[in-house]
């Protein structure tokens, strides 16, 4: 049985630690196993390892479960796990924060290893179990020794599928076959926790650069699954009784605008606030999604429907575009008409429409906008530039996150006030924010965390750290012959069965 799936993009980078690209993360879930898993209640659960925490909360002892084997037959050892965690610690933002409080991470036996903290850090397990960003994929020690800035070239994992390297064609297809030696856990699957039982022989990810073609192909029975169905084309699919269209990841995506704190006029907080006032979520979502069923306004920077969800401070963006108010604010702030360089990626459909609508809203709000179309590659290069606008810098761009990437002040990459050195593109210099974040990480009870999270959000809105412009979900389409697709933020292919078509 072979599942032919069209994923949201082609896979090119095969190292799930060097990149945060979703497709590479998905690839990671196919061929690697993670140390911990996270269940649908957002609770960390044992996956490869179970753990014990000392009473002072500073020592974590992990024990690998039995039956773990590499695809080449060797056993998975604690040394492998430790090396993998260390490489992860070099690249993941949250992990970097955690490792600042780590005293040691050592194997203590073939199957056990110990993580010792030097100061309290209450978020260890959540970080290790997080399903997105950089999950804790465990690789053989020899592979994990690869410098963190270099891609791995050995794709041996211990996960439920094996990567068929010979059939890999970057930009065309990636092929995974069932790992017969994989021993799943006994619990029922729940998100990335529980038993990963593979029920097909082979999964092929086919790259289709044209969504039209993918839609036609699934209608014609040439493929089984489309991860992200263009919402405007749903009528073509819903009419076909052989297909099921459903949202597998109900948490969905957050789309947001980031302003550059370094360049005028957005170095002025008042003007940043005016921009937020000029924008509104509805029109942007309408242009991006266009179907009420799959979009919702949401003032929470942590996503709506998540534990830390709150609407603290979200009033300016939630009350829709207020051009007149924005104009007044600009007047007051002394805006001199400096054009806003707004970068628009023409080749990425999920980020192309936001700037177009934003440009119109900002203009209505009294801004001068210079929307510059460019390809995504140019955009990602340019957004890394801290130079002035004339020297190749920028003022504003949009991007999207899946909710699990932003759902806590620790995960959320934008909520970092580290300025030019440490903060994410836009480089807010906001020590107050960082202080609150540390407090959050050290807080031990859920209620305190929630309060701190709400404070952080209120503060972030106040200084306009970034502007969430709404949430949306993307339906997947599968042929009815597929059953057992798990509903979770990451598309995985265990538990899926394929009946004869």
């Amino acid at each position: 049985q072979e599942i032919r799936a069209v994923m949201h993009s082609g896979i090119r980078v095969l190292d799930p630690v060097i990149t945060t690209a979703h497709i590479t993360r998905n690839h990671g879930y196919m061929i690697y196993d993670t140390l911990l898993g996270m269940d649908e209640n957002l609770k960390p659960q044992p996956q490869m390892a179970s753990w014990e925490v000392s009473d002072d909360g500073l020592t974590y002892t992990f024990t690998l479960r039995d039956g773990l084997k590499w695809h080449d037959g060797g056993p998975v050892t604690s040394a492998d796990a430790v090396a993998s965690l260390k490489r992860w610690g070099e690249r993941d933002g949250g992990a970097q924060m955690m490792f600042k409080s780590v005293e040691s991470l050592e194997p203590t036996g073939d199957k056990t290893f110990v993580l010792k903290l030097s100061e309290p850090f209450s978020y260890v397990l959540e970080l290790m179990a997080k399903p997105s960003g950089l999950p804790t994929f465990i690789m053989p020690e020899r592979v994990a020794k690869t410098p963190a800035g270099e891609s791995i070239t050995d794709y041996t994992g211990s996960g439920p599928f094996k990567f068929v390297e010979a059939e890999f064609e970057p930009g065309v297809r990636a092929v995974y076959e069932k790992n017969e030696d994989y021993v799943p856990r006994d619990e029922p699957p729940s998100w990335t926790a529980g038993g990963k039982v593979v029920k097909v022989d082979k999964v092929t990810w086919v790259v289709m650069p044209d969504v039209q073609t993918a839609v036609n192909a699934i209608n014609g029975g040439e493929i089984d699954f489309i991860e992200q169905t263009p919402i405007d084309l749903l009528p073509l699919l819903q009419a076909n009784p052989e297909l099921t269209v459903e949202v597998l990841s109900p948490l969905g995506y957050q789309t947001m605008a980031r302003l550059n704190w370094l360049n005028p006029p957005f170095d002025n907080v008042k003007i940043r606030q005016a921009a937020m006032t000029a924008l509104g979520q509805e029109p942007i979502l309408a242009a991006l999604v266009g179907n009420a069923e799959y979009m919702k306004s949401c003032g929470s920077m942590y996503g709506c429907g998540t534990p830390f969800a709150t609407d603290a401070g979200s009033e300016p963006i939630m009350s829709g575009p207020q051009p007149d108010k924005a104009k007044a604010m600009l007047e007051e702030a002394g805006y001199d008409g400096t054009p806003i360089v707004l970068m628009q990626p023409t080749d990425v459909p999920s980020i192309a429409p936001q700037p177009v609508v934003a440009a119109q809203l900002l203009r209505q709000g009294g801004f001068t906008v210079d929307m510059q179309p460019m390809d995504w590659q140019t955009l990602v290069t340019r957004r890394a530039s801290q130079a002035g606008v004339a020297e190749g810098g920028w003022n504003m761009f949009f991007t999207n996150w899946i909710i699990p990437e932003v759902w806590s002040p620790i995960n959320n990459p934008m909520l970092n006030g580290g300025g030019k050195e440490a903060a994410w593109f836009g480089w807010p210099n906001d020590p107050e924010l960082d202080e609150m974040r540390t407090k959050f990480a050290q807080a031990s009870d859920e209620e305190t965390r929630k309060t701190i999270a709400a404070d952080i959000q209120a503060h972030a809105y106040e200084v306009v750290n970034y502007i969430p412009v709404g949430e949306y979900t993307i339906p997947s389409t599968s042929r009815n012959s597929l059953s057992g697709m798990l509903k979770m933020p990451v598309p995985v292919f265990w538990n899926v069965e394929k009946a004869a078509d």
Binding site: D232, I284, G290, Q344, T346, D347, P353
Partner: protein, 296 residues
């Protein structure tokens, strides 16, 4: 009589200077229709600000993908912009791209071709460079240039034009190579005319007929290349409507809202069809052997 006037307007150069012998008494159907068609499109482009009912970039996301109606004769696009207005304004951009590419390619290619045709050493150096340029697939060159300089109308125009230049150079060069053997060029040398005068007076006019044909071809293919660049995400930004980017933004809706692609597509096809037909006609008419009829 009215038809005659239209045709004459479309090809005044051809008729008055180079085809003194051709009688346009027998107007052919296709070229006439093509000329009318092109005239209408050009008029639409020029008059777009007057004819268009809406601002082509004013969007109304709440009214996106509306079907055709009196308010929006061609419907609205995914941003809720009026496709009719965008198509009219798109004519401007597409014509600028087409005519601009043809004009610039000829403007640069003609002198280079003249030089290459006349001087051996220029020929050797220049043609190697031109070969190199020609060997690089033009669409890829265009993508690279657009990424380099950002996607504005002007960079797209440059990107589309550069690969066309070598073709024009080659064409002019080949015409010059054969024309300079004509006795009247020798006669001009014999009466002591300078090289520049010979090139300008005696050689350049010979290149005009083939250049008009090549020009129509460049014009048509530039309009198409612009559409393809938009398809690949390297076209002119969406705030500058062109037929190419209207179509490539609308292509997702090919099955659901064919109007998005049909109308700009229709204009584009009619325009290119007309340009091509006029180009073909120009070639037929300018071939003295076809024009005059041969004798036995």
């Amino acid at each position: 009589m009215a038809d005659k006037a239209t045709l004459a307007a479309a090809e005044p150069v051809i008729r008055q200077r180079f085809l003194p012998k051709i009688e346009v008494s027998r107007l052919r159907f296709a070229p006439t229709l093509a000329a009318i068609c092109l005239a209408v499109i050009v008029a639409a482009a020029i008059l777009a600000p007057l004819l268009a009912p809406y601002d082509p970039i004013a969007m109304n996301p709440m009214e996106r993908l509306a079907p055709a109606s009196w308010a929006h004769p061609f419907g609205t696009d995914p941003y809720g912009r009026d496709v009719f207005s965008r198509t009219l304004y798109g004519a401007q951009i597409s014509l600028i791209v087409g005519l601009g590419a043809a004009f610039v390619a000829v403007l640069v290619g003609l002198p280079l071709g003249l030089l290459a045709g006349f001087f051996r050493w220029v020929d050797a150096v220049l043609m190697r460079i031109m070969d190199g340029l020609m060997a690089i697939p033009s669409i890829l060159l265009a993508i690279a240039i657009v990424s380099l300089a950002g996607s504005s109308l002007w960079t797209v125009l440059v990107a589309i034009t550069i690969p066309e230049i070598p073709r024009v150079v080659r064409l002019v060069r080949s015409v010059v190579l054969s024309a300079r053997e004509e006795p009247y060029v020798e006669a001009a040398i014999a009466v002591g005319s300078s090289l520049i005068k010979i090139m300008w007076r005696h050689l350049t006019p010979n290149t005009i007929a083939p250049l008009i044909v090549q020009g129509t071809y460049v014009c048509a293919s530039a309009i198409l290349t612009e559409a393809i660049l938009s398809f690949l995400g390297a076209g002119i930004g969406t705030e500058t409507p062109s037929w190419g980017n209207i179509m490539s933004e609308g292509r997702l809706y090919f099955q659901l809202k064919p109007g998005l692609i049909f109308w700009p597509g229709l204009f584009l096809s009619l325009c290119i069809l007309s340009i091509n037909i006029l180009g073909d006609t120009a070639r037929d008419v300018m071939d003295p052997r076809l024009g005059k009829g041969r004798n036995g």
